[in-house]
Symmetry: C2
Subunit: 312 residues, 2 copies
């Protein structure tokens, strides 16, 4: 009889779980609200309940959990997960294994989304891939020589603090880093600042606190030129960073995902132009830059694929 292997995508807003059905497919999702901010034990209990839903009440034989923060998959320790609350050096794998009574693998959620894009999405069939997700923050996953790359303690992929110049400061206080300039958060802030300076925009009629990345995209899609410029500038900065990574890592494909990609060509066209202006010829010719293929399902699909890889 085949094993019951479950992937869990643990987010700050929702918990999703599904049964892995092959290396590249999974069953229907179970979902509930994430009790983020409560104790790690409460969050784990909600994950266990969601996993049991996905298994029809049966005990799973192996579970992989995607967690939003840096963690060491070898030791099972989560260094931090600010979107979940106080997860400061928590032995998360042990918490999950004790509560589930089966082997558990934990992995960073952006890495799993990238892994899913590599196994069955826009990067399928390659050996060397970079996945970049541009949302509230900016993260990356790296596939080198046909394997998900972790690094010394599994903390690789922190591309958000890549220096790209400029004076903006990110949440950690780093000046001129990618996340401070080009994340969804930065797009919202740049729009609020521009409106406050009196720049002409349809967003001027909104209360300042309503001007976030989504509102800027809505305005841009409706033709607002300030919103279009801000999104285009962000695309250019991300594209310059991607060009630098193409030079360093010579990947076959760069897959770009995350909420900011909802802006479509307003973001992606200047991104591609900046890649072309930055990447050296040999590596540029060897590399495609494409939109992610799995959308918001990538994290759950990656957790299921990771469960299959580790426990099938």
């Amino acid at each position: 009889m085949s094993k019951r292997l479950v992937g869990i995508d643990l987010g700050g807003t929702n918990i999703r779980a599904a049964l892995a059905e092959s290396a590249t497919s999974h069953g229907p999702r179970s979902e509930r609200r994430s009790p983020a901010g409560e104790s790690p034990e409460s969050v784990v209990a909600a994950c266990v309940a969601t996993a049991l839903d996905a298994c029809g009440g049966e005990k799973p034989d192996g579970v992989a959990v995607g967690i939003p923060g840096p963690l060491n998959p070898r030791t099972g320790v989560v260094f931090a997960a600010p979107n979940l609350g106080e997860w400061d050096h928590v032995d998360a794998r042990r918490l999950f294994a004790d509560a589930l009574g089966c082997p558990v693998a934990i992995q960073n959620d952006a890495k799993l989304a990238g892994y899913a894009e590599w196994v069955s999405g826009a990067g399928a069939g390659t050996e060397n891939m970079i996945f970049i997700t541009v949302s509230t923050g900016i993260g990356a996953a790296l596939i080198f020589d046909g394997r998900l790359y972790g690094g010394a303690v599994g903390a690789s992929g922190e591309i958000g603090h890549l220096k790209v110049g400029g004076d903006a400061v990110c949440a950690l206080g780093h000046r001129g880093c990618l996340e401070a300039v080009a994340s969804g958060t930065a797009i919202g802030k740049n729009a609020r600042d521009a409106v406050a300076r009196g720049e002409k925009s349809s967003m001027s009629s909104l209360d300042a606190e309503l001007i976030d990345g989504q509102a800027v995209n809505d305005a841009a899609q409706a033709g607002d030129s300030l919103a279009r410029r801000i999104i285009g500038d962000a695309g250019g900065v991300v594209g310059t960073a991607i060009g630098s990574l193409i030079n360093l890592l010579n990947p076959e494909v760069v897959v770009v995902g995350g909420g900011v990609m909802d802006a479509g060509e307003l973001f992606f066209d200047p991104l591609r132009q900046a890649v072309a202006a930055t990447a050296v010829e040999v590596s540029a010719r060897a590399c495609r830059v494409v939109a992610a293929g799995l959308g918001t399902d990538a994290g759950l699909a990656g957790a299921c694929a990771w469960a299959w890889k580790n426990f099938s």
Copy 2:
């Protein structure tokens, strides 16, 4: 009987060869001037003569050649090698194999220097290492999960064009890239510009064309404050880039080599400070930043180690 395996370090100035004696050691070097600028066939003939010297006139059983330019080790094609002359998409492995009558592996010279530092130098014993060489240009070699990483077509390691901000322009016309700001070439240019602007310095007595990276280091070692500031600024920019790479790649060690390291702590102390200001805590704690251990022998040692790895 053991095989005669030879490593060749083909540079724009000199050709060096030696017999590999183990995975980590080699015999005495043979050396001659490089006929750079002549045809690839002439350069290859000089390499063959140097290799035969290293073998005492006997035919080698396998040879690895380090070449100063981007190349694809799988196809054997050198994309470009400006320091050697017109090597535009030259099938170098075939040229060498035909002239030597034995199996040949080619590899980029900076990658081989990094490989040597990993096998027997400052990065020995690690699984994940970044090697950065700061000389006329700036290059890198990457060890991921215990293997030298090449990328899609072997062109990885081009860190010289990483955007770090500022207005300086590199030889390829990229604005604000690492090489334009912090290479030995940039250090010389920054000093010439400062002297031309009338800044006070012992270098003011030199003809402008004599103010190169070496002259700036000489002045700095003698206490010249302009020279010290220029070298320190370069160290800070390289350190910021290294901090970004530590965040992205979470290595166990970053090994820094190349001629600019002759400046010692004047370069390395601001480099370390910039790393500390840039790297996130989890990855910074997992990573040492150290000076290269093999000096100018690294390229030859790497070629010998590569011959041993490929043909022993």
